[in-house]
């Protein structure tokens, strides 16, 4: 009777967990029924081994299950054939030469369960039996490799699809002037989350099909202005990004305290940031200078009554515009 090997207990230590990759995760997520071969080349117990040899050669397989009324009774592998060629007779019937002690798996088991058996036991294939013991498939190492590669490919395509749909946004929507507006609330003194909004902005631009250079310039400029809001604005502020096919406009604004001397604020190295902020690697008075380097236009307005408004613009050249049909 087919039987499953005893499950070996394996404790996952932190050391082991460190090395877990996406492929290994997939091996746990994927079920055997998702990767197994369903079209089974089954043998009958009455067949002669010489016919099995021909079948293996024709089908380019190295083993097959022996089935009676849908029930598995054994397996013949190429090793059985080799043994027979040395010591026996190829006219023998399958029932005399087959292996009857067969390790099987269930369709709902994880692929990793099959992998464990392949690692521990020297077999080339595992019959897959459903709850009623009926043979529903065969799984080999090749099936697993194909299944994992397919799953990785699907992972990749999912991200590509998001990117594809987003990058066609400006082509698909017809208007005299289309603008996609993104808004982010920035909390005051929330240093730990500083840069989260800018990460989202950068990723959104890449998904919309922006070139890495454009995404990088916008990302850095918005990051510096995001840090300014976190460090200085009493109640935090807002970052607003207007994306149009030919330009990206970003605006960072707050309601106070306002910049007392804009001329000084624009000088490289001028800073009013407290020491604790400087210890965090910011507040050295380079933010506005940096922003100016990365954008095409920058306008800073501030008053003690109304707060600060920083407007930034990046123009997209012909090769960079969103929604051009022939853009690569």
């Amino acid at each position: 009777m087919p039987q499953n090997p005893p499950q070996q207990a394996r404790i996952i230590t932190d050391k082991v967990a460190e090395g877990i990759t996406r492929v290994e995760e997939l091996a746990y997520e994927l079920k055997i029924e998702e990767v197994m071969t369903r079209e089974i080349k089954a043998l009958t117990p009455e067949m002669q081994m010489i016919d099995v040899l021909d079948l293996f050669r024709q089908e380019r397989i190295s083993g097959a299950p022996v089935v009676v009324d849908g029930q598995l009774i054994g397996v013949v592998s190429i090793e059985d054939l080799i043994r027979l060629m040395r010591h026996g007779n190829l006219e023998d019937e399958v029932r005399e030469s087959m292996t009857t002690k067969v390790i099987t798996v269930r369709p709902t088991d994880s692929v990793v369960d099959a992998l464990k058996i392949f690692v521990n036991v020297n077999v080339g294939r595992l019959p897959v039996l459903d709850v009623d013991g009926k043979l529903v498939g065969i799984i080999t190492k090749g099936d697993i490799t194909r299944g994992l590669l397919g799953a990785l490919q699907r992972d990749y395509q999912a991200e590509e699809l998001i990117r594809y749909r987003a990058s066609h946004l400006f082509e698909d929507i017809v208007s005299d002037r289309t603008t996609l507006v993104l808004r982010y609330k920035i909390k005051p003194h929330d240093f730990n989350n500083g840069g989260t909004a800018s990460s989202h902005i950068k990723r959104a631009l890449l998904r919309l099909g922006a070139s890495p250079q454009i995404a990088r310039r916008c990302g850095i400029a918005s990051y510096e202005s995001e840090m300014n809001l976190i460090i200085h604005a009493t109640h935090g502020g807002t970052i607003r990004v207007d994306i149009e096919p030919h330009q990206i406009s970003m605006e960072a604004y707050d309601d106070g305290p306002g910049i007392k001397d804009i001329h000084c604020a624009m000088q490289p190295g001028y800073s009013t940031a407290p020491e604790e902020i400087r210890e965090q690697g910011f507040g050295a008075g380079m933010g506005l200078t940096n922003i100016q380097r990365y954008v095409d236009e920058m306008k800073l307005e501030s008053s003690v009554e109304r707060g600060t408004n920083l407007r930034m613009k990046i123009y997209l050249t012909d090769t960079d515009v969103f929604g051009e049909p022939n853009k690569t």
Binding site: G195, S199, P212, R216, R217, Y223, F282
Partner: protein
């Protein structure tokens, strides 16, 4: 230079399990002031820094940094490690100080990716 070679040269320890290490490193940049990094670093550099907070990872993400090396054997807080794993940017710890580290990498042929910035020059041209 790839990241595995880098790890060997600096006796490094990778702190970010699961993050891919097959990125190419085209050069290096060393700074503790993140605005300096943002101002001068070019894409695909390794960032050498003594700063351990999550802003290092954000900066690296914005500036397309290939890997972060934390100098002088400092251990970054869990928030930094977690963000680096989420953003798929490797963090490597090394026992060496900034000067020694720069020297080692430079001796192994790694060029500087710190762009000098004369007044008025910007990437927008």
């Amino acid at each position: 230079m790839n990241i595995e070679e880098l790890v060997k040269i600096i006796d490094g320890k990778v702190m970010t399990p699961g993050v891919s290490l097959d990125r190419e490193i085209k050069g290096g940049c060393g700074a503790d002031l993140m605005s300096d990094v943002l101002a001068s670093i070019q894409p695909d550099a390794v960032l050498l820094t003594g700063l351990c907070n999550p802003q290092v990872v954000r900066t690296a993400m914005m500036a397309d940094v290939s890997a972060i090396v934390i100098v002088r054997g400092k251990t970054p807080p869990p928030a930094t490690i977690k963000l680096a794993i989420d953003e798929n940017i490797p963090i490597i710890q090394t026992p060496y100080g900034m000067f020694e580290l720069c020297g080692r990498l430079f001796n192994h042929g790694l060029p500087s990716l710190e762009k000098t910035i004369p007044d008025g020059l910007c990437e927008c041209e």
